[in-house]
Point group: C3
Chain length 171, copies 3
């Protein structure tokens, strides 16, 4: 079982295979679901009702707001110039670099195998295409795809959908 005792789990968090994940020092919000082969590092905050799919890695420095979808095989990063060692060939320790913060806002969705460069902010309701490499901030209600990820469209918000007649009501 690799859900460390120092993980703060909200109510009704679902971890389908606790012995096939590696979670430590993080906070997981209520009703969030976590798939197999997922690693979530210390100081990560995952909001409520998120879904973190199998094979994904969420590193220190990342905050997922509520209702975020993380696809399969998604890799976050917190360092733009990672190295194994310092100039004197000693192993890098935590004192040898600063964690860069990454924020994923409410209801955003990140497609499978996407890579998220350290320091970006992904906006509310944004969609990151599968396999995209996100190198810049993604505005709210925007879809990005490709390597590097570029904006290809707008994700209509609820008001727009109602005004356009595409959505008749919001239950």
């Amino acid at each position: 079982m690799a859900v460390n005792d120092n993980v703060k789990l909200g109510k009704n968090v679902k971890i389908f295979h606790p012995h096939l994940v590696n979670l430590y020092g993080c906070l997981i919000g209520d009703e969030t679901k976590i798939g197999s082969f997922v690693e979530i590092q210390k100081n990560v905050i995952v909001g409520t009702r998120c879904k973190v799919s199998s094979h994904s890695f969420i590193c220190e420095g990342v905050i997922l707001e509520d209702e975020v979808f993380v696809g399969h095989g998604v890799m976050f990063t917190n360092d733009l110039y990672p190295r194994a060692t310092n100039a004197d060939s000693s192993l890098k320790t935590e004192d040898d670099w600063s964690v860069i913060q990454t924020l994923v806002k409410r209801r955003a969705s990140i497609g499978s195998n996407a890579t998220i460069l350290a320091g970006v902010t992904i906006g509310i309701n944004a969609i990151i295409g599968a396999g995209a490499v996100v190198t810049h901030d993604v505005p709210d209600y925007t879809t990005v795809v490709g390597v590097p990820a570029r904006v290809i469209g707008h994700v209509p918000n609820t008001d727009e959908l109602i005004n356009s007649g595409l959505l008749s009501s919001v239950s």
Copy 2:
């Protein structure tokens, strides 16, 4: 051990580390080999003599015909607009989306870290380059690479190889 009792295993299926995979509700054909850190979901059909390499994810909705090669870190998908929650912020359940079907035909090979968008058909003997993001159908005997994946060549079939003199016999 995360090979669920509801998995239908053919004869001589090789799962190298049964405690390092997550298989449930799927059918695995005779003589197929499955690597470590692989997840295969319910209703997936994997044909005979396939190879599913480590770190790959095969979701509900996918059919692999016989003799398909799936490289390492390959991610299939079954939803084009995944979200963690519904418009009313309730968690999505199975009733809230329809699985899109994906078909990989006989003897196709999918390179490592490739991403397969929901709904495509990958043709007989096709080759998907490593790291490709497949967004459209791939014709039989075709090689595709890149993001998004584009056709770069033709994979000669056996008759063509014999006619061209490149292959002298078919044992």
Copy 3:
């Protein structure tokens, strides 16, 4: 525990979760760190003071020299035309293909979700961008990004840094 008895471990190698990796027949140098959900195959050589991050796959044919950084979800390959079966539909065995060698030189860093095609050499101190697909050799002190990976810059070496005044001393 999936660290096979045939693994040769140097001094002070750190494997954070020995039951969440798959290591066999490889040699791991002193002080190297290995994350969770990592597979390292037989005949691989990993140098001293390397860091192999979670979710990465290092196949037979790969040599990592000292102080190499391998990010998360990095996939190496050792075959350019992988197939599950031979022309006669029998399962491929080790006798049916030759492993292609890949070399990563001293102090190189490979970003997360990168894919390394069989046969390339990655030069000293080179940086491979996150999500890149490396299809050609990468010269020493070079940064590459994208699919396929292209050179975008030069990583200054220590002499250059001192001459430019950016680095005042080498401890």
